[in-house]
Structure formats: structure tokens, C-alpha cells
């Protein structure tokens, strides 16, 4: 699609105000990119809507004029899902940043789509300290909506599942301009659940913005116990982990559960550091949880094959941060400001294979590696991330990272996992393996929702001409 006409610019300016539209080279440059490895592609416009009505009018315009629209939250998905593949309008949703309502007794919050993770956390801490939401470890500028819509995970996922499981309802604008309420809010003034209605929210979860624009959402909130603690369990064989994780998740004592494997610092290479997070309302409760957790792994300790390590105060403080800042700092570990990872959702039993494969991919591509597995639910699955930092100023570093990521995507699929928030090449790999009837169903849904193909085109499109 070629350059848009001035009339589009004028129309957008009328909708959102001229100060909230840009077609300047500087904005187009920035919004063409994210901090990952995917190729930049410029939009024709960047627009900052301030309300659902403005979004609606933009979509009506875009639908009428067949202009691609790409919704953008924090821009930290890293896999290029917010990079406009076919030009058009990038909708930076972050002006819509109001926290609308907290329902304390039903423990949910309604937010606009541009509310950041950090702002929601800070707001709850100040106004509802007994409640919290599950926060991912992305930087706090990531939006709540963006993370939910890609099935993200975070600090409460071991206890409560994927972040999409915590969704109570959506307000969406369809590509054809209709505004819909999805979930209980479509019938009731309360946004308490998606049940017991047909779950139309599923039309927006995991679709990478190809079915419409989410403008509001309600998510579950959880009790916020006063005390939190973290323990580390160290092993030297990845083969132990499925059993260790199974035992730990069977205790019902944990909030968050992660395993990290890194090649740096050198002294942790080849070791698995299982990080066990607990929360409690009293010292006694915390102590009980510690005991139950330690008891679950006693046989490993007695056989000297695994051990708990005391986490000293400075390190404990950084592990208990929400979000953990060191994860963002890791992006600069190659002194290059670039970082992307393949996060594959896969069964726990594949842990040893995933671990070994990740190390070989890194070795083949002459890169350091970081692998983090976050356990979702009671070991129902895990988000296993193979992370590759790179130096943005060094083309070869970028190419090596791209190669490693491609190999990781393929490896994930080969072992029965599915890349999460998959970048376009990986989407194609997924679609290749997908049940054909399912692919057809996806195609039918997309055509129904977005007859003119304006929503984030180029994603979930297989060979590029539609699924």
C-alpha cells in the first residue's frame, strides 16, 4: 500500500486532534521498530486515540478506505507484532490510560487498554493495598491489555494460570466499527466473569490484533499478603526438573515458580536455579509454607543432588521486585540494547530437552544463553524462554540472534511446544503444523470479523495471502 493522502491525515486530525496524529519521519521511524530483531516497517501515520469513540471513528475510516490498522500498547512484545507489515495507521493506545473501577468485593479492576502494568500496580498499592494483580517481568511500561491479549504470564501464574485466564471481560471495537462488550458486562453492570456466556473474548486472545481493537478490559485481582519470600533450589541436572516442579506445584504453597539457566556468570553454567516464591499473612504461615516446600524436595537434599541456598538480603530484594528490573538490565548484557526471546508454551516433561536444545543452539550460534521457565498452574504447562541478547549496532550480532531465534522456534515446535507471541516467521511454522480444519476455522473467523483485512495484516496469514 502506498503513501496515504493528506485527506486521511486531515480525517485523523479531526478525530483525535491534530496534536495526536503524526506522519513526521521521526515518529514513523520509531513506530516502525521494536527492540527485537524483526525488520522495521514504517506506518503511514501514528495516531493516539483518547477514547473508545475515537477508536471507533478511526476504524470506520480505515475500513472505508481499506487502511491497515495496528494497535500498539507498550511496544515491548519484542517479536514485532506491533510493527506494521503493510503500512497504515499505528494506534498507540497509551493515551487511554484511565483506571476506571475497582470492585473490591468481587476482586476485579476495569482499565482502559493503555493502562500500564506499573501504573496499575502503583494505584492498587496506594488505594487497595490488600489487592494485587499478576504482573509480568516486562518493564512496567508494558500495558495490562497487551500482556493479556498475548496470553502472558507473571508473578501469580503458578497459582492462577495464564494472564488470559484472569480476564473477566472486554470492550472491543470491531474492524467494522461496532463497539461490543464481551463477558458478563454484556448483560450485567458487573464485569465479574466471562462465564456463563459464550466466550467471545476468545476472539481477541492470541489473535495479535487481527480481529479488532480492545479499548477496555477487566481483570481479576488477588489477595495481597503482607509477607513475601523467595527460596532458591539448586540442581545440576535438568533431568530432575520435571519431578521437582511436579512436587513443588503439588504443595499448593507457592505463588510463583521459575527456573533459570544461564551461561553467565560463568559460575552458574550447567546449573538450574529454581526460584520459589511464597506469600503469607504472618510469620507462622510463611514458616509453614517454607517447611512444606522444603519437605517436598527432601529426597533430593538427602541424596545431595539438590540443595536450598539462602538468598542474602541484596539478592532477595532484587528477586522480590515487581517487575524484576534485572531482566530489563539483561537486555544490555551485550552492551547493545537488543534483546529478544522465544518463549514457548510447552509441557513440563519437555524441560530437559528444552534445556539441552537451548544450550546447543546458543553454542552453535556462538552466543551466551539465558533460559527461563515460568511454571503456569500446577505444572499444567510452562513458558520456556530461550533468550538472546544482541548488539543493535552490530549487524552480525543481530543476524546471529535472528538465526538462534529461528532455530529455537523450530526446536520448540519439534518438541511439542508452541512459540508464544510468535513473530511472523514462527506464525507460519505454527500454521504449517496446525490441524487444517482449525486453520480454516481461524480463516473464517478473521474474514467474518475483518472482511476488508485491515487489522494488523501480515499476521496469522500463513503464506501471506490469507490463511
Amino acid at each position: 500500500m502506498g503513501k496515504m493522502s493528506d485527506s486521511i491525515h486531515e480525517a485523523l486530525s479531526t478525530i483525535v486532534g491534530s496534536e495526536h496524529v503524526s506522519k513526521e519521519p521521526e515518529e514513523l521511524f520509531l513506530y516502525a521498530r521494536d527492540p527485537g530483531t524483526m525488520q522495521p516497517r514504517e506506518p503511514d501515520f501514528v495516531a493516539l486515540p483518547g477514547s473508545t469513540e475515537e477508536v471507533r471513528q478511526i476504524l470506520l475510516l480505515a475500513n472505508q478506505r481499506r487502511i491497515p490498522v495496528v494497535p500498539l500498547g507498550g511496544g515491548l512484545v519484542l517479536s514485532g507484532l506491533t510493527i506494521p507489515q503493510k503500512g497504515g495507521i499505528v494506534l498507540d493506545m497509551k493515551r487511554m490510560d484511565r483506571i476506571l473501577e475497582v470492585n473490591e468485593s468481587s476482586r476485579y479492576v476495569i482499565v482502559e487498554a493503555g493502562v500500564s502494568q506499573g501504573a496499575l500496580q502503583a494505584y492498587l498499592r496506594k488505594n487497595y493495598p490488600q489487592l494485587k494483580h499478576s504482573i509480568p517481568d516486562s518493564p512496567p511500561t508494558a500495558t495490562v491489555a497487551g500482556n493479556i491479549l498475548i496470553h502472558g504470564s507473571g508473578h501469580l501464574s503458578q497459582a492462577t494460570g495464564f494472564h488470559s485466564d484472569m480476564l473477566n471481560g472486554l470492550e472491543v471495537v470491531l474492524p467494522t466499527g461496532e463497539v461490543c462488550q464481551l463477558g458478563s458486562c454484556s448483560v450485567s453492570p458487573y464485569w465479574f466473569a466471562r462465564a456463563p456466556l459464550p466466550d467471545l473474548s476468545g476472539l481477541f486472545l492470541g489473535w495479535f490484533g487481527t480481529t479488532g481493537v480492545v479499548t477496555k478490559l477487566a481483570i481479576k485481582l488477588y489477595p495481597n499478603p503482607a509477607l513475601r519470600d523467595v527460596m532458591l533450589f539448586v540442581t545440576e541436572s535438568e533431568d530432575y526438573l520435571p519431578d521437582i516442579l511436579y512436587r513443588l506445584t503439588g504443595t499448593e504453597m507457592l505463588e510463583d515458580l521459575l527456573v533459570t539457566m544461564t551461561s553467565e556468570p560463568r559460575w552458574v553454567e550447567g546449573m538450574q536455579m529454581t526460584r520459589i516464591h511464597m506469600a503469607a499473612n504472618s510469620d507462622e504461615e510463611l514458616e509453614l509454607k517454607r517447611r512444606v516446600i522444603k519437605r517436598s524436595l527432601r529426597s533430593y537434599v538427602e541424596e545431595k543432588e539438590g540443595g536450598f541456598m539462602d538468598v542474602l538480603p541484596p539478592m532477595k530484594g532484587s528477586f522480590l521486585e515487581t517487575p524484576i528490573r534485572d531482566i530489563s538490565v539483561f537486555a544490555d548484557s551485550m552492551k547493545g540494547g537488543g534483546f529478544e526471546y522465544v518463549g514457548a508454551i510447552m509441557p513440563i516433561e519437555q524441560f530437559p530437552k528444552a534445556c539441552r536444545e537451548g544450550a546447543s543452539i546458543a553454542k552453535r550460534n556462538r552466543m551466551p544463553y539465558v533460559q527461563i521457565a515460568r511454571i503456569v498452574g500446577r505444572a499444567h504447562s510452562m513458558m520456556f524462554a530461550w533468550g538472546y541478547p544482541f548488539n543493535r549496532a552490530d549487524k552480525r550480532s543481530l543476524e546471529r540472534a535472528q538465526q538462534a531465534l529461528d532455530e529455537a522456534n523450530r526446536a520448540a515446535l519439534d518438541m511439542g511446544g508452541i512459540p508464544w507471541k510468535a513473530e511472523r516467521p514462527s506464525q507460519e511454522l505454527i500454521l504449517e503444523r496446525m490441524d487444517p480444519a482449525t486453520r480454516l476455522l481461524m480463516q473464517r473467523v478473521q474474514r467474518l470479523m475483518d472482511p476488508n483485512g485491515i487489522m494488523n495484516p501480515g499476521n496469522w496469514q500463513g503464506d501471506g495471502d490469507g490463511i
Binding site: 496534536e19 521511524f29 502503583a122 511500561t141 544490555d332 547493545g336
Partner: protein
Amino acid sequence: MEMEYEEVVHRCFRCGFCKFTSDYMNFNCPSYLKYRFESYAPGGRMWLLKAWLDGEISASQHLGEIFYSCTSCGNCKENCVMEFRDDLLNIFTAARGELVADGRIPPQARDYFKNLHTYGNPYKKARNTRASWAKGLDVPEYDGQEWLLYIGCVGSFDERGQKMAHSLANLLLSWDVSFGILGEEETCDGNEAQTMGEQGLFQLLATRNKEIFDRRGVRQVIALSPHGYHAFKNEYSSFGIEIHAVHYSQFLASEIEKRRDGLGNLSAKTTYHDPCYLGRHNKIYQEPRHVLSAIPGVVLEEMERSQKEALCCGGGDGNFFTDILGSGVGCPARIRVREAAATGAEILAVACPSCAKMFEDAVKAEANDARLRVMDLSEILLEASGAGL
């Protein structure tokens, strides 16, 4: 194209910690708050700078506006999680220096430099009117007194700034402080010239000041503006200028104990705004509060964002003059004034003439001038003692 700090610029991950306060409650980058495009956030500037250095984008009017909308408030340096965070403001200054060298600066910035060069102030006012703020007061010329009271350009020529200068001088006179002013000979401290990228001009101004200070035997300076204080304290020594500089809030805090009896009374709920060049840049948070707390009747109420979390008034890097950061309901000064009003305060206390000007304009724009007064520390002290205007 080469630039100092070039090897660091590409390391920005655009994670966005720089946009926030440290508890993530609020966006705290004044230009990002106003414009909300990623280009106006520190991370956006880093990426655009890298693109410009690599020749991927050209310098343009818009790029100039993006860089000159930064106020060097320091919030990014405070909150960036990367190891190069301490270089951030220097990088933006260096970028502006490149724009200056390239001739691609916004016209308002060009005017600023031109006026500074020609008139010794950005306002294009005649040098011999520099001391006109002192009219009606018997302010002595500096002639070897204990302190030089240094006013700066905003205090000398801006209407609101002049009121502040007048008030402080009045207070110091009433306290029998041994001080004098340079009067017409005072020349710009150059702090804004430096951060706006005109190193050459800054050097010229600093050298001029050195000559004046040496000739007139200046050893100790009380600075009205935190911008001037910052330059004297942190930059001037590299030009061989060895003076002991304090900000006037520090001076007042050191004197207030012996003057407790004469402070009078002012029953007013007051909130204090930490100016960037006093607070984040120089970590001076307690002295102004100490002054205010000492005044009988004053009840101090902190704003949601205070001390190192304070939201910049939007006046830095010459924006009080160039107005690139602009106005509008989303501009930082108006956001800050709304925050002040939310505390229930009747007085928004300031310690910087740029802040005074920005906030007084914002209060008027918010139509709140009946309920919220913008006053600096000296004005509050004078009013409490019954000697205020």
C-alpha cells in the same frame, strides 16, 4: 558524523523506566507527558539520535523540536535501570550540540542564543536595565561584602522573576546580611546555554564571569536560581573559577534558627515544589522544607510526587523562553499545579524563578489563581513577618 557518547547511544532498550516515577505511579518525563509520542520520551530520543548519527534519518525542524522539548529535568537519569544512566543528560546535551553545529535548531532556540550573545540575556533587553528589579530597594553594589547575590537572567528580566529577586533582596536587607549585587555588570551564568548545546557560548559566558569575579573579588555567591547555582557549583571549576556557591534556600536554612523570633506567622497550608536543579541534580531537598517548617502557622503538605519524584515545571533547557514544550491542559506545569491544588494547599512554594513563572502562568490557565498562590520562599517569609508586598 561523530559525537561524544556515541558508543553508548545504541544501548538503550526503550524499556521505558525513564518515563516513570520510581514507583511507576505516574509518567514523569515532562515532554512525554505533554506529547505522548514515543519520540518525546528519552528512549525515543536515544533511538532517533542513533538513527541520525547513522544517517538513517536527517536532521529536521521536528527532530530539533524533539530534542529541545527536553528540559534536562533528570527524571530519566534517576530512573533508568541501565549502567549508562548517568550519561543520559550529557548525551542529550551532546545531541543538541550536534544540532547547533549542524544549524538545525528550532528558531526559538536560535533566538535564545543570539540574544544571549548580543545582550547578555535571552530577552533582548538592554544590559543597563539588568538591575531594574531592584528599584525601590537600597540594594548595595558588590564591593567585597561576604556574599554576592547573583540574580540570573530570569530574575533580572522576567516579570515574575523580578518580583522574586526583589523579594529576596528585601529579605536579605531586613536580615542585615552582608551582600551586594553586580547590577548591570552581571552576566548570564550560561547554564541553559550549556545544556542547550552551545558549549562555545557557555565558555564565553563563564570566562566573562571569571573575569568579573576575579576583578571584583567575589568568593562566595548566593544564587537566586538553582540553574545558576548548578553551573557555579558543578561546571565553573573547570574554568578555574573557585567560588563557594550556595542556593538561597540553603542560605535561608542556615540563617533561620537565629531569626525564629522575628518570623511572624502565616497560617497557610503550603506545598513545596522541588526544582529539578536543586532537587534531582543537587540532592537539596531538606533545606527549603526546613525554612518553610520554621514559619509559625505554615502547614506543609507534600504533593503526590515530591523530592526526587517531583514533576518538572517544564521550564528547563530554555523552555521557559523557547516554549517548545508549550502549553495546553496536558503540559507539565498545569499537571503540577493541579497536583498542588489536590493537596488542598493555598500556597505553592517554589525556590526557582523559572518555576515561579511557569506555575503562575499555569495557575492562571487553570483558572485557579483565586485559590492557589505561587510564592517563593522569600515572599512567604516576608509575608509572614508582615513585611511582604
